[in-house]
Amino acid sequence: MSYIVPVGPYHPALEEPIHARLYTEGEVIKDAEVFVGYNHRGIEKLATERNAIQTLVLVERVCGICSHSHAFTYAMAVEAINGVEVPKRGEYIRVITAELERLHSHFLWLGIACHIIGHDSMFMHIWDERELVMDLLEKMTGNRVNYAMVTIGGARRDISDELRRELLAACDKLKAPMDRIVEIALTDRTIALRTKGVGVLKREDALRMGAVGPHARASGVKIDVRKDAPYSSYGDFDFDVPVVDSGDVFARVVVRALECYESIKIIRQALENLPEGPINLGSKLIKIKEGQSVARHEAPRGQLSHMVVGDGGFHNHRVSIHVPSYKNTPTVPFMLRGNTVADGGLIIASIDPCFSCLDR
């Protein structure tokens, strides 16, 4: 018997709105379509009537999870147009915030994935550890969500010696629970049964459709802006890019879990070698020179790009924001085909979608 099963735009497993239409034959999904655009807020349009400082505040509100990534990327684009060189200490603080953001984002997704497959004890365990990261972000920036750590030409808040020691201690403290989370993720029978061989995206499909971030890396594509086009101070740090070949939901769990170790590695190096000096170039409102640039940043979900056009005035002439979910969401129908309806929610969630980001 054939059915069309609608999922969303409001669905208990997915906290953000997407509508998926599953064309099924019995329990099996034969084809699927996805529809986005339920969160379109016209942010790019609003950005054309704002100056650079106002735009930092605006773009941070594109997403509640990777808010720092947006401010970071926008600032890089404006700094490239204006030829601004950011003080090294400011760059390090930006990177520390970005990697803490990646940690909390990956913990969040790993927890949600466990919740979707009914492994709620693991979900609570992971989110308990995530709280430590959230507390650090709050202590460092004053906020749990929109960190406001970036200004054009640097960072807005410094890291005191006391906070630096506290952050280093937290890196040690996270090690044991992370080892436990990774061990359970790799060996637990429930997780394996629900994720291995489910929602496969082959390497050639990932390449053809331009998948990015952990989603692409779980399909054997070694892509990471931090390595491929180093920016800010990423070139100063030693870290690996975990890649897994199997392309299923399990591979996405493994890649994200291993990436948490790499983020801690980067944070530790940045804290241990935090340069002395200013954190920014002052708070004077700047004009955006006539010109255009594209900045790319490896956000928690993959490559984030901001294209900025300046016309010599205080306002942006154009800001074009494109997020990892923009590239990863179209791969969802491919991954759904041949799987069961019961796995549909998990497969959609496995790209770690952010529709708030995607819609802007």
């Binding site: 790319r296 790009s305 002439h317 179209p330």
Partner: protein, 131 residues
Amino acid sequence: MQEYRKIIIQKEQIVPIAEKMRREGRYLVMIHAFIDKDGQMDVSWDYAVDPAVESYHVLGETELPSIGGIYDTAATWPERELNELFGINFEGLDTSKRLFLPEDMLETQGRGQIMVTPLSELVEKNRKEEA
């Protein structure tokens, strides 16, 4: 440091460049558009030629070839977006379904009006429609 290279091309070069980039295994970072200060459309295809972005610009054209056959959804989604927000037509692109704008907005404030019309005019138009 990431580099940004801007290259002006003619629209006949769009497809051959996309084919070359695809053969070389380059990622299509994005397709962007904006109206420049002289009022002409500036559409750009950004490719990751790491560590740089090579940005190929076509100026003053709103009827363009699609590269969906080369880059699949990595191209068709941005093309659909530009069709909705700027009214740019990509030859052979399926625009029968909405992407970001609600269907009623496509019918009223319209395809191609959102990013082209000044914000104050859009607000005024919205007020009149609500009244």
